[in-house]
Amino acid sequence: MALESYVPVVIFAVVALLFPLGTFFATRLFRPDHPTPLKDLTYECGEVPEGEAQIQFHFQYYMFALIFVIFDVAAIFLLLWAFAWGGLLTSASPVAKFSIFLFLGIMFVATQYALKKEEVIQI
């Protein structure tokens, strides 16, 4: 039953994939195609491009990326917990109900502490 309701989504995915592909192939019928060496240069405000762009980019926000991964996993816990909240309220055990607030508090304080050193970012 649950899987059956995803059949239209799969069909939609196929159509959504074919829509841009079909558009790009259809434009072949209408557009010119005359590449020249000057046209194919990388755009750099009219200058001859200097060097490569695929370099080892200084990845300045790696700390944000690390914390993002932690929060991404935690969001799944929180979602399940929010779904189960109505059932947890009727149960007697306070551990299952409120222990995640402790987890959230620890995570929040740790995040803000870790981000203290990321004061200046330039990209």
């Binding site: 239209p8 989504v9 939609f12 159509v15 209408f30 557009r31 990388t42 762009a53 779904f83 109505g86």
Partner: protein
């Protein structure tokens, strides 16, 4: 109380499909006289499997055309007219009478005093005729794949987004989560586009898009989690159904609809709206293609229809985000007036649910347009700080408030 104009899109399309297949079958049976094997093909076309498959294809095509042809052109026109008004000018005014061929080339008709609605169609026709240039140093395969990834993932949000209680493709229990997942695929495509073009502007734009994803997607999900405390469901139709009633406060019924924005979810609404503005890359948060700093950001190297698709589909993301906000917080398609007229024995609603939903979507979009043409752009470190030092604490606070209200009852 409410009534959709399209009560059952699948059922409506099934009638159409059955009619088409019946006609095709008759033609095939007529041909089966001289060519007997065709009779088996005619029988195969009449089977349940074929009819269901063709019906789904028609449903999907109807929704894709409704979204891309009608709503995309309308929202682009609304934006161009609205920001022109903000800049104290009229904006596009070329009317259909300026076309140089027969039914339109009347003399004595004003050619430049129209509404300009077809200007975007003309721009699209122009872009189709433009050459597609691939830079010599670019990673060609990735350069060509990423517009497809961006466009199709943007369209995928509309597979689940309902336009009324009957006008949708799929009714999933995890619909809201699906839309958020579809949204979060596009920054991956932007990152690929930025890297593969081998251009410094696109590289910086793509990495900025990745940085922005890090800052806004967690607050958006946390705000939805705060909402789940109240709804207990992620099905958009269920969520809208819960908001279709007046607020009852201490035994008295107030003349205010019970939208989730009125009440303890207000903080979550603010966080979610800011996150959605960042998601659709509009001006306070359009740093991936800051045209004042990076020529056109990650779209710099795209030309022709590739540029047209990736540029126009940003408005689709705006439509989807506005629809998502109105479903979650603004009551979806519930409206104050529902009048019906009877044509024969079929009731036709005058103000159907689709009308109220489209009204909300365009109202929110107009708000975003006015906002984005009024405020300056934030810097990349500012958006990371807004995301991590403002939105995440506020969304955690929204979760606490929601949990507390549920405990107190």
């Amino acid at each position: 109380m409410s009534a959709p104009l399209v009560p059952d899109l699948f059922g409506l399309c099934k009638v159409l499909t059955a009619a088409i297949i019946w006609i095709v079958q008759q033609i095939i049976y007529a041909l089966a006289g001289p060519i007997p094997p065709l009779a088996g093909l005619g029988d195969f076309l009449g089977t349940d499997f074929v009819i269901t498959l063709v019906t789904w294809l028609i449903v999907v095509t109807v929704v894709v055309l409704w979204v891309t042809v009608i709503n995309l052109f309308t929202i682009m026109w609304v934006e161009r007219k609205l920001y022109s008004r903000l800049q104290d000018r009229y904006g596009i005014m070329i009317s259909v009478w300026s076309l140089p061929f027969w039914p339109f080339n009347r003399t004595r008709r004003p050619t430049h005093r129209g509404t300009g609605y077809l200007q975007n169609l003309a721009d699209g026709i122009k872009l189709i005729q433009k050459e597609n240039i691939t830079p010599r140093n670019a990673d060609s395969a990735m350069f060509h794949i990423s517009p497809v990834l961006i466009a199709s993932s943007t369209l995928m949000a509309f597979a689940v987004l309902p336009w009324s209680s009957g006008f949708y493709v799929a009714n999933l229990d995890l619909g809201i989560l699906f839309i958020l997942a579809a949204f979060s695929l596009a920054p991956l495509g932007i990152l690929i586009a930025g890297w593969s073009a081998n251009n410094k502007y696109t590289l910086v734009g793509g990495l900025r898009a990745a940085a922005m994803l890090l800052s806004y997607s967690i607050p958006a999900v946390l705000a939805v989690i705060a909402l789940v405390f109240f709804t207990g469901s992620l099905n958009p139709i269920v969520i809208v159904g819960q908001q279709d009633r007046p607020i009852v406060l201490a035994g008295t019924t107030l003349p205010i609809p019970a939208w989730y924005v009125f009440g303890p979810q207000f903080l979550g609404f603010l966080v979610f709206t800011v996150a959605m503005i960042a998601e659709m890359e509009r001006v306070p948060f359009d740093i991936p293609e800051a045209e004042a700093e990076l020529v056109e950001g990650w779209t710099t190297e795209y030309s022709g229809m590739r540029f047209g698709i990736v540029f126009a589909f940003k408005w689709l993301r705006m439509l989807a985000a506005s629809g998502l906000i109105s479903i979650l917080y603004l009551g979806g398609w519930s409206g104050p007036v529902f009048a019906t007229v009877f044509v024969g024995s079929i009731p036709i609603p005058i103000f159907p649910e689709e009308f109220w939903f489209v009204l909300r979507v365009y109202g929110l979009s107009a708000f975003f347009v006015v906002l984005s043409w009024s405020v300056p752009r934030v810097r990349i470190d500012q958006i990371l700080n807004i995301g991590w030092k403002r939105l995440i604490p506020y969304s955690l606070l929204a979760i606490l408030i929601a949990a507390g209200f549920r405990v107190l009852g």
